[in-house]
């Protein structure tokens, strides 16, 4: 529900009021280990071994961590200006000439503005272009102009396109390397800046198309992608204290889905299946999993945690994550209700 901009606001808890964060608020809570610019650092390292890698951006190098690559390889970096259509078509042209372009912008601009160019110039030709986009889902308080709450829904229907939604710094580093190796177009959602490091505690390696069971539990199966995996891992620890055993299946590849791993996990009887994603509940991982389960005749009790089918408010990110149900506290609260 959006407040009218004309309605007077009450200064509730004025002393504690949270302010709208910078364009990209850090999603890392205080005290948690982080790595800086995992995508940019990894790409710069990879570029050393692979002269075919080039980087392009549409006026957002600093905000997609591509500046790390640009500083190290200025002659392999193309600043295309605020022009996402030519960003994508020029990336297609470079791929046609044998290069491996990494094109970066915000997820909203790639998905909403440049769709046709990604579809026809890149995907239909199965070209080797990697589209890496910051601000996926609800990771900025700037309102709907910058919140890519439906990017996965937009892209899932595009043939040939691999879609990656990594969880943390480790995931991003490994995924960057994997997509550079992969032949064909890729869309990757990006957490930039100081990115939390959580998966190092688990026996985890990223592989395109592979889901990983990070922990097991008898009562709830979380199936999650992106930053929601770190949230459900935190939630699982809290719920464990309540004697609610939670399994977590991390699904960083949205397309192609690891159908085998999802089915195997969901087939275990007696568990509530909760899909958690940083995306509208329409057309994303949740609906992808639901359709898969229905097709295969697997029918557990099924719930979704994701963003509502609305244009979201502007505001401070922690407030918004609570308001729209994707904070750890909200996940815990909902799962308690569902398992009562």
């Amino acid at each position: 529900m959006r407040l009218s901009k004309f309605a007077p606001r009450q200064a509730v808890n004025a002393g504690e009021r949270k302010t709208t964060s910078a364009m990209i608020a850090s999603i890392a809570p205080d005290g948690i280990p982080t790595r800086n610019a995992p995508f940019g650092q990894t790409l710069a390292r990879l570029a050393h071994q692979r002269p075919g890698i080039v980087g392009l951006t549409a006026d957002l190098a600093k905000y997609t961590d591509l500046h790390v690559f640009a500083q190290e390889y200025p002659d392999r970096f193309y600043q295309m200006g605020m022009a996402e259509q030519v960003l994508m078509s020029a990336a297609a042209g470079l791929a046609r000439e044998g290069f491996t372009p990494f094109a970066t912008t915000y997820a909203v601009f790639a998905s909403r503005r440049a769709y046709d160019f990604i579809c026809m110039a890149i995907a239909e030709e199965n070209l080797d272009v990697k589209i890496v986009c910051a601000l996926p889902g609800l990771t900025t308080g700037y309102g709907p102009s910058h919140q890519a709450t439906e990017d996965i829904a937009i892209f899932r229907g595009m043939p040939n396109l691999t879609i990656i939604d990594p969880c943390d710094a480790l995931d991003i580093e490994q995924a960057t390397e994997a997509i550079a190796d992969h032949k064909g177009p890729v869309y990757m959602r990006l957490l930039r800046g100081k990115v939390p490091l959580v998966l190092d505690e688990y026996d985890y390696t990223f592989q395109i198309g592979t889901a990983r069971l990070l922990r097991d539990g008898a009562d709830v199966l979380f199936i999650s992608s992106g930053l929601m995996t770190m949230r459900v891992l935190e939630a699982a620890k809290v719920l464990e204290a309540d004697r609610i055993g939670c399994a977590v299946l991390h699904v960083p590849t949205i397309k192609p889905l690891d159908t085998e791993a999802i089915l195997a996990a969901a087939r275990q009887p007696g568990r509530l299946v909760v899909v958690a994603e940083n995306h509208t509940i329409i057309g994303g991982l949740g609906e992808g999993v639901a359709a898969l389960l229905m097709r295969e005749g697997v029918t557990p009790i099924f719930r979704q945690i994701g963003l509502p089918d609305e244009f979201l408010d502007a505001g401070a990110l922690p407030t918004l994550h609570d308001r729209y149900g994707i904070s750890t506290a909200e996940i815990v609260r909902r799962v308690r209700t569902w398992t009562e």
Partner: protein, 279 residues
Amino acid sequence: MPRAGSNVGLTERAYRIRRHAVRMGQVQGQGYVGQALGIADVLAVCYFHALRYRPDDTLWEGRDRFLLSIGHYAIALYAALIEAGVLPEEELETYGTDDSRMPMSGMAAYTPGMEITGGSLGHGLGIAVGMCLGLKRKRSDSFVYNLLSDGELGEGSTWEATMSAAHHKLDNLIAIVDFNNLQADGPSTAMLSSEPVTDKFEAFGWHAQRVDGNDIEAVRVAFDLARGLKEPRPRVIVCDTRIAKGVPFLESRDIAHFIRVEPHEWTLALDALEKGRPQ
């Protein structure tokens, strides 16, 4: 290079390109034959004067790239590719039929010599920008040509690419605009006018020329100038063409964007072409 040692003149090449196009139209009973007839002179200059290519090796690294962003002009490019020896002439019988290498709209995966998939307008020039950047990275001296249409100038992405090409000083890019002033709903200048078109390109930092696209000698001179120019700028040649050029009874037809021709008229069209054939 097919033109080396050949004594077939450009006007004869243009005639044959027109004839191939009309024969393909005859197979289908319809098609964008008007555009093909209009652009045939420009394509003759491209394929028999300007472009470097190998008919038997369409992915030869040293080739000039010819991008057709206007996919519906595919019949025109097929006709040129047949004349250039890239596609066999017998294959024109398959135009637009199931499993043909020559679908109605041009797609890269189907046809040797078709560099891009161009049906969604406004893509070609941006891809050309990327290819030009890539060729420069490879220290290649190949040119990238992009044949656009006047209607396509309505697509904003074309102007993003225009700015980008100038910004990156792409002197290996030559855009060709087929200005036949006709698009699906009527005259291009009445839909969304791009005039004064050369002024716009010049204001964007390009070297611009405008010629009568059905005057082969004028087109040839313009291509030579565009290639030889020693300026760090992309180049555009705006070619004013007449739709259905060479077949007078079609030239004067009102609905010429997508020509439907009575069965007996195809023969008449071929006769008209023959009458205008250079001696």
